[in-house]
């Protein structure tokens, strides 16, 4: 088949020794950049782009792409160990990753996240190889009406995240939505809530808020609980007896989770603008409604970590499809890659893959190799990372605070973002203390502006009519999918739960803590 000839050609390009060195450097840099809170793949790419100016384009793109998906591996490590998401796409990984570490299962959680990342990344590349042309049509069907419906679908995940006190959950989401309206109104250009400050024209960014709410908020809360007074191993237990490797149950329980998370993540990733963050949140809530033990979610359920991890890595592969097949960047990171293509004198667009086959297939082939390298790197590095939680909290906490602060600053060299992060940290502490939902706030901040913009664009296009949602194939597709999720899933869940109850006897009736 042509396909394998192409892939083989790509592999022969990618496997040259110098290119492999670039690939490994990229993978390592990506992991490190991912670990530092604040640095996501987009910031890492932008900062390192100038380094590639003098390089051969194929080696350079292999390195940049490896930074991009490598950051997705690294981003989860602090989510699990410190409840501090490295970037937005790993927020969902804190929900069950951190509770797992608290239960003494940091080692298995880290191994499983590496495996999930690898599966997501690899399934993503396989789907690119097989289906790139077909999936370019998915991206072509997305206009404002579809984005609005997608944002609504994303908001359904709120129901899962809101926790026991639904009023406070809704209030949290509203606060996030309100923060999302700060900045220049996209449609009219009018400034909203900027109070004349130029710093706020661009709106309130997601990263300082997420780092503040989760990272600093958790840090203050740990002080409240007195963790700084205890000796080592206090935030999370690393139990030598329970060990480092996941047990059989972890593998058996999550084998389908891996596949579901990967496929869902890939499909969402293909849609420009939706990206890894929404993919991971959707995968989490989807998995929870699929699970036989939804009550364990948020308390350290392995599937709750595996699903978003597989999804965010698959999504970062999926985002390569509109970039390679249409020349349309689906995310901030792929936008930097697009800028790099232009710098190297290439013209991204529908003819890109036929005009530059060595480049395109070399890149795709390198992603197989890069994911394997990252899996190995991660597993080797885990014993090292686990040492982090053996440092007494009273010493670790100030260091975490410093890294969160400087990481936030360096993303856009802005002190305002640092002030925002600290405010979010203090608010996040009180939110945790009084039963609010920081996750719902973050979701409101991400999806709120998306929904508002898309609805206003849609109504401008349709001249005020709502029928447009039933006139477009893409919209109908999303509505049908949502209906299936809402109607069929609860039914399956009920059947599944009954079966599960019969098998296990009584299911623990512990209160659902939410997240």
């Amino acid at each position: 088949m042509d396909l394998f000839a192409d892939l083989w050609m790509g592999l022969s390009v990618a496997i040259s020794p110098i290119n492999l060195v670039y690939l490994l450097i990229g993978a390592m840099v990506g992991m490190i950049v991912g670990i530092i809170p604040g640095f996501g793949p987009a910031a890492g790419l932008a900062i390192l782009l100038p380094v590639t100016f003098g390089m051969d384009p194929i080696g350079a793109v292999m390195m940049l792409a490896a930074i991009y998906y490598g950051a997705m591996y690294g981003g989860t490590i602090t989510s699990i160990l410190l409840n501090t998401p490295g970037e937005s796409a790993t927020v969902a990984s804190t929900f069950d990753g951190y509770p797992l570490a608290q239960k003494g299962r940091a080692g298995p959680a880290l191994v499983m996240q590496a495996v999930a990342s690898f599966t997501g990344g690899t399934v993503g590349v396989i789907l690119i190889t097989l289906l790139a042309p077909a999936f370019s049509h998915v991206a072509r069907n997305f206009g404002p009406p579809e984005y609005f419906l997608l944002a609504l679908l994303g908001m359904l995940t709120l129901i899962v995240m809101i926790g026991e006190n639904w009023k406070l959950g809704v209030l949290s989401a509203l606060i996030g939505f309100a923060l999302g309206t700060v900045g220049v109104d996209l449609e009219t250009g009018q400034s909203r809530y900027t109070f004349g400050s130029a710093e706020l024209i661009g709106g309130i960014h997601f990263i300082p808020i997420a780092i503040g709410l989760f990272g600093l908020g958790e840090l203050y809360f740990a002080f409240y609980r007195g963790l700084h007074r205890i000796g080592s191993g206090s935030i999370a237990q690393y139990d030598r007896k329970k060990g480092f490797w996941p047990d059989l149950a972890d593998w058996v329980d999550t084998k389908f989770t891996l596949v579901r998370g990967s496929i869902l993540g890939f499909v969402v990733g293909v849609i420009p603008g939706a990206g890894a963050t929404i993919a991971s949140l959707m995968a989490y809530s989807f998995e929870r409604s699929f699970s036989k033990r939804p009550k364990n979610f948020g308390k350290g359920e392995m599937a709750g970590l595996v699903a978003p991890e597989a999804a965010n890595n698959a999504a970062s592969s999926g985002a390569m499809i509109p970039l390679l097949t249409l020349g349309i960047p689906g995310s901030a990171s792929t936008a930097v890659l697009l800028a790099a293509f232009l710098l190297w004198g290439m013209r991204p667009g529908p003819l890109f893959m036929t005009q530059n086959p060595e480049f395109a297939w070399g890149l795709i082939a390198s992603m197989y190799l890069g994911n394997m390298a990252l899996l190995a790197l991660n597993i080797f590095a885990i014993p090292l990372f686990v040492q982090i939680i053996r440092v007494p909290y009273r010493i670790l906490a100030p260091i975490v605070l410093v890294i969160c602060t400087l990481g936030t600053f360096s993303v856009s060299s802005s002190m305002i973002e640092v002030y925002l992060m600290f405010t979010a940290g203090i608010v996040g502490f009180f939110m945790r203390l009084y039963g609010f939902s920081p996750a719902a706030l973050v979701l409101g901040l991400v999806l709120g502006p998306l929904a508002e913009e898309a609805l206003r664009q849609t109504l401008t296009i349709s001249r005020g009519s709502f029928w447009i949602f039933l006139e477009r194939n893409g919209s109908i597709g999303i509505i049908v999918t949502t209906a299936v999720l809402l109607l069929v899933l609860p039914l399956m869940q009920r059947i599944g739960r009954r079966a599960g109850a019969l098998k296990q006897g009584t299911v623990s009736e512990a209160e659902d803590a939410g997240v």
């Binding site: 006190n165 809704v170 509203l174 009018q190 009273r394 100030p398 600053f409 709120g448 206003r456 109504l459």
Partner: protein, 150 residues
């Protein structure tokens, strides 16, 4: 404390709604949804939900069983205070010196009587950050306004 937090949110919600209703138009001149359409809705809902949650809070039965004080509230205030001082000093003396001072002072309080350990952490961590950010990643570190050699 709990009630104060709600009052702060209520005040923020009221201010948000006030701006939405006075400065932002509900519809644009051409009859499209205006910049104030969503903020007005969000603002009103925020106020409603805050009041609703507060009324539940104020019922005496709700207050029972929830220990408001009991954690190390003083310690939290302390680390928050150190954090704020750190952020303010960043712009004054620059990222690396501020980090050295912050780490040393904070550790002297939290990790008492271990001068050597604290001193090492306060020097080595900023050094590692400097190498990683400035040398390897070429990322920005806050610059101070005071003329220091860093």
């Amino acid at each position: 404390m709990r009630i104060i937090f709600f009052v702060v949110i209520l005040a923020a919600g009221l201010m948000y709604s006030y701006v939405a209703f006075t400065n932002l138009d509900f519809l644009t001149m051409t009859g499209r949804l205006g910049p104030g359409f969503f903020p007005r809705g969000i603002g009103v809902l925020m106020v409603v939900f805050t009041l609703w949650s507060m009324s539940a809070e104020l019922r005496p039965s709700a207050a029972e069983g929830r220990s408001d004080v009991g954690g190390y509230a003083g310690q939290v205030a302390l680390i928050m205070g150190f954090g704020v001082a750190y952020v303010l000093s960043l712009g004054l003396i620059g990222g690396i010196p501020a980090t050295v001072i912050f780490l040393f002072v904070t550790l002297s309080v939290l990790n008492r009587n271990r001068l050597l350990q604290n001193g090492l952490v306060a020097l080595l961590v900023p050094a590692a950050i400097y190498v990683l950010f400035d040398r390897l990643l070429n990322a920005a570190i806050p610059e101070g306004v005071l003329p220091l050699p860093f």
